[in-house]
Amino acid sequence: MPEAADPASVTAREAQAFARVTLARHPDRPRALRLIELLFSDWTELHGDRLFADDRAVVGGPARLGNRWVMVIGQEKGTDARTRVIHNFGMPHPEGYRKAKRLMLLAQKFGLPLICLVDTPAAHAGVEAEERGQAWAIADSMLTMFGLKVPTISVIVSEGGSGGALALAVADSVLALENAIYTVAPPETCAAILYRDANQKARAALSLRPEVATARALGVVDELVPEPSPGAHAHPLVVAAALKGALVRHLCDLEAQPRDLLLEARWERYEDPAPGSIPPGSPSA
């Protein structure tokens, strides 16, 4: 590739690519609980997976979108030093995914559409998470969500990282805020795997094209919700209003479909979930 010959330009492009990651992780971006407050009314949080614990990295419960009751599940990163620890930086343990599954089934039982707010660097990696079957919890959440007999919408709010994000994103409609990222794994992890060096995260970011515009081009994300410059961290109300409009629109479309057609369309979508491609040399940022 000709442009790769100039090391200075490569470094600049890598820095630009990683700047997108940094922007998506901006500490002031609205988190799930803040968005729930801005998007919905009568939000009533429900706790626990009924098996082991209440994982605060995942929050959920019924709420009203306009006058329509829906089930909301969100990954919450926390907003300051104290709440970030409480919410484990948005990295769920298995009990978080099992709580999500419980709420999905509750939504199905009573015909509530499901709205998931995705914001996690990855599922928690740790001894306890493995002991309690992190892989099984994620696999089960995906399978449950894929088979759910109510309309489902997921929003990649800021950071959609790995299977930990996809566990809540096997939806009929997938939206994303414009400055969010959606990746197979955090750039640090990708760098560790590809180059055996987590410090090459900028290089990984350039290769992996984490920006949601890529996800849109691949056909994984249906619609990008615009964020006025410099981003949602500076304009949370404007962005929430735009997101609310998009949610109402997508929900109306999905609810207008007969259930069997909805499930058939979902099947067709996930039969080939990322049919698009990014041409070589296309700008990453």
Partner: protein
């Protein structure tokens, strides 16, 4: 990787007759292979005949996908199930070597087109579809082509009313395909739900190693899950967890024995027993005749 290495000789197993010769040759010689558990060398043809389970230390050495599939099916019943190998490079990925070049190199050197090998046939007389993952090919990683292969196998199983038995071995996602690789977890989930909708039994056998996007999707979504002795199985890699938790990992962490103890698999099965155990369980699940229409 773990304090109690899966490569340690297994003294729990009763010593078996050393049918492959009492004294393996100490140095490399043509036609011999080394057990990666104890480093002893054996005559390759006999080692293969024992399914690469070491007669000295019982280590279950890695087995090519083709051997796994052929071995569980009754002789003569094996009919390969064509699965497509993809050519796409969705991200135009280039990290020094273009992804397509890397893929071509891998295909040439490993003599395999993609991760899955699949076939239909009978297992002790029970008709079944069987798929196995080739860990030596790109670490068994779940790229777009592998996702399509798994979907193709599930569709074929449903079309023919066959249960599916899948040997899973993978490091997880294929990083070079980025988000497209991640989405294969959803694709494989959809494929598994096809089997469930058709009430067809689905069994997985977790083989060393099984991690990431594979363990967190179709490997864990089976009706019955077996694991080979000492196989390393988990979501995040042990090294990642050790770094993240700054602590010592528990003894036997992420081994088949560890996850059995924590309730995540149905049983650990010696390689030579897998065929009969699978046949018995398929028989139980299919008592009512298969493929009740949904």
């Amino acid at each position: 990787m773990t304090p109690q290495s899966p490569r340690k000789p297994n003294h729990d197993q009763p010593p078996r007759k050393p049918r492959l010769g009492p004294r393996p040759q100490p140095v490399s010689s043509p036609g011999t292979v080394a057990c990666s558990g104890c480093q002893r060398r054996f005559v390759k043809s006999r080692f293969d005949a024992a399914l690469r389970v070491c007669p000295a230390c019982n280590h279950h050495n890695r087995l090519p996908a083709l051997m796994r599939v052929r071995n569980i099916l009754d002789a003569e019943s094996y009919a390969p199930l064509p699965t497509p190998a993809g050519e796409r490079d969705p991200l135009s990925f280039d990290d020094g070597m273009p992804y397509r070049t890397r893929l071509e190199h891998e295909r040439t050197s490993k003599q395999v087109d993609e991760v899955f090998h699949a076939a239909t046939g009978t297992i002790n007389g029970i008709p079944a579809a069987v798929a196995a993952m080739e860990f030596s090919f790109f670490g068994g990683s779940l790229g777009e082509a592998a996702g399509l292969q798994f979907l193709t196998v599930c569709k074929a199983a449903v079309q023919r009313g066959l249960p599916l038995v899948c040997f899973c071995s993978s490091g997880g996602a294929r990083m070079q395909e980025g988000l497209v690789s991640l989405m294969q977890m959803a694709r494989c989930t959809a494929a598994v739900s096809l089997l469930a909708d058709a009430s067809l039994p689905y069994m997985t056998i977790l083989c060393d190693p099984c991690f990431g996007g594979v363990s967190a999707s179709f490997a864990a979504q089976a009706d019955i899950i077996l694991a080979e002795p000492h196989a390393r199985i988990g979501f995040a890699g042990g090294r990642v967890i050790e770094q993240a938790s700054h602590g010592k990992l528990p003894a036997g962490f992420q081994t088949a024995e560890f996850i059995l103890e924590h309730g995540m698999v149905d049983m650990i099965c010696e390689r030579k027993e897998i065929k009969s155990v699978v046949a018995t369980l398929l028989g139980a699940l299919e008592q009512e005749g298969h493929a009740r229409s949904s």
